[in-house]
Amino acid sequence: MNAEVLKVSGVSKNFGGVAAVADFSMIQRENEITGIIGPNGAGKTTVFNLITGVYPVDAGGIWFYGTETTRRPAHTITALGIARTFQNIRLFRNLNVQDNLAVAYGVKTHYTVWEEMFRLPRVRREEKEAGDLARSYLSYFGLEKYATYFPYNLPYGLQRRLELARALMASPRLLLLDEPGAGLNPREIRELMGTLLKIREEKKLSMVVVEHHMELVMKICSTLHVLDFGKKIAEGRPEEIKKNEQVLQAYLGDEV
C-alpha cells in the first residue's frame, strides 16, 4: 500500500450552530486521486478550507506526511507542500499571467527583502528560475502566448487551466482541486481528465478532487467519499458508490 499523504481524523466545523462538517475522516495515499462528492452545501469546500487552514477546526486533527497541521497558519501549510485551486476562480487580477504563476513560486525563493531592494545576484538568479519555470508551465498548458495578458481577459476555460498551472508552481506533493470541471464543456472536461492523470504520473502527485461532474470523478478517482449535510454517508471505490442506496437517495431524493 502506498504511503500516507494526508490523514484527516474526526474533523468537525460549525458555523453559528450549523454543522458544516461533522466528524469527517479520510486517508489520502500517495499517487492516488480521491474524490469528495455530495449535493450542494454538503460541506465539501469546507473540508478543503479546513485542510488548508483557512478556518481552524473545532475538533479533530489533520496530518500531512506525519506532520500535524491542525493549528498551523494557512501560509505555512502551503509551504509544506499542499496546493489548491478554487471553486470560483481566484486569480490575481492585477498581475499578468506569468506573474500569477510567479507568486506561487514565492515559497521556493530564499532571498530577503534587503537583497530585493537592490536586486542583488541571488534575487536575479531566483527570479530567473521563477520565470523559467512559469514559462515551462505556460507551454505545458498551452498558455505561452498569453504570458503578458491579464487573467480576466482570458476565456473561462483558460483561466481554469491557469489556476491549475499556478497550483503546480510550488511543486506541491498534494493537490486539492475544488470543482476543476465547473463551467467546462464536455470536450474540455475530457481534456481535463487527461491532464490530471498525466500530471499525476509526471509529478508523482496525490490529488483530492471535489466535483459535481460524475463522469469525471468516476473515471479518475480510486476512492470516493460522499458527504451529505456535513456527514460522510459513504466511502469506497466508484463502482461501489454508484450502487449505494444512501448515496442515490441523497442525490436523487426519496422515491415518491
Binding site: 483557512v54 494557512a74 501560509h75 492585477n94 506569468q98 510567479a102 530585493e116 527570479e127 520565470g131
Partner: protein, 283 residues
Amino acid sequence: MGFYLKVLEITSLHTILVLGAYLMTGLTGLFSLGQGGFLSIGAYTAAIAFLKFNLSFPVCLALAVGMGVLVGFLIGLPTLRLHRDYFLLVTFGFGEMVRAALLHLAQLTGGALGVAGIPKLVGLPMIILSIVVITVITACLKRSRFGRNCIAIRDDELAATLMGIPVYRHKMTVFILSSAITAYGGALYAFVIMFIEPNLFNWLESAKLIIITFVGGVNSITGAIVTSVVYYSFGEFFRFVDVWRDVLLALAVLLVTIFRSQGIFGNWELTPDTLLFRRRKAG
C-alpha cells in the same frame, strides 16, 4: 529664480511622501490616513535632535528614520490585523493623535508655537537624489517577489495566503518601509522649510497622497511620481487658479474614476524598454 527653486523643493519633497504612500496604498491596498503622523514624527525627531541635542545632521536623519520604523512597528502591530475601513479609521486616529501629542508636549516640541530656527541644510540636489534612490528601491521591490506579494494581497487576501504568503508579516514590512520613507521625507521637510508646527500636515494632506496615487495609477510608480509633480507644482506656477486647484483635482479624480479606473498610467512604467518603444519580452 528663488521662487521657482522653492516650488521645486516643496514639490519634490511631496514626491517622496507620495512614494511612501505608493508602497502602502498603491501596491498593497492599505488605505492609511496616518501618513501625516509619520511625517510629523520624522520632522520633529530630526529638528529636536539637531537643535536641542546638537547632534550632527546625518545622525538626525538616521534618528528620524529609526523613529519612523519604531512607531510604524508599534502602530502596525495591532492595526494591520484590521481590514479596509477599520484600518483607515485607526490610522486617521493615529495621525490626529500625533498632532495632539505635539501640541501638548510643549516642553519638548514647543507646542502650538512649533520649532523655529532650523537651519536650511537640505537643497534640491539632495531631495532629487533621495527621490532617485527611493524610486530605484521601490522599482526593484515592485518587480520581484515583494511587489508581486503586495499586489496579490491587494487583489485577494485569501488566495494570497494560500499561495504561501505570510500576509500579516508582509503588510508589516510594507507599513514599516512606508513609515520610514515618510519619516525621512518629514526630516528633510524640516530642514527645507526651517519651521515646523503641529498642523504641518493634517489628515487632508494625507488623503491627498492617497488620491494622487490613485489618479496616477496604483500599478505604476511612474504614474505616482508624475501625478505628484504635476499636482504640487501646478498650483504654485498657476497662482491665478488658486482655490480652484482643489476643484480641478476633484474633477480630475472624478473623470479618472469614471473613465479610467486603473488610473491615468494604468500598468505603464517608464523603463528603458518602454522609452524606446521596444516590445517587452514575456518575463
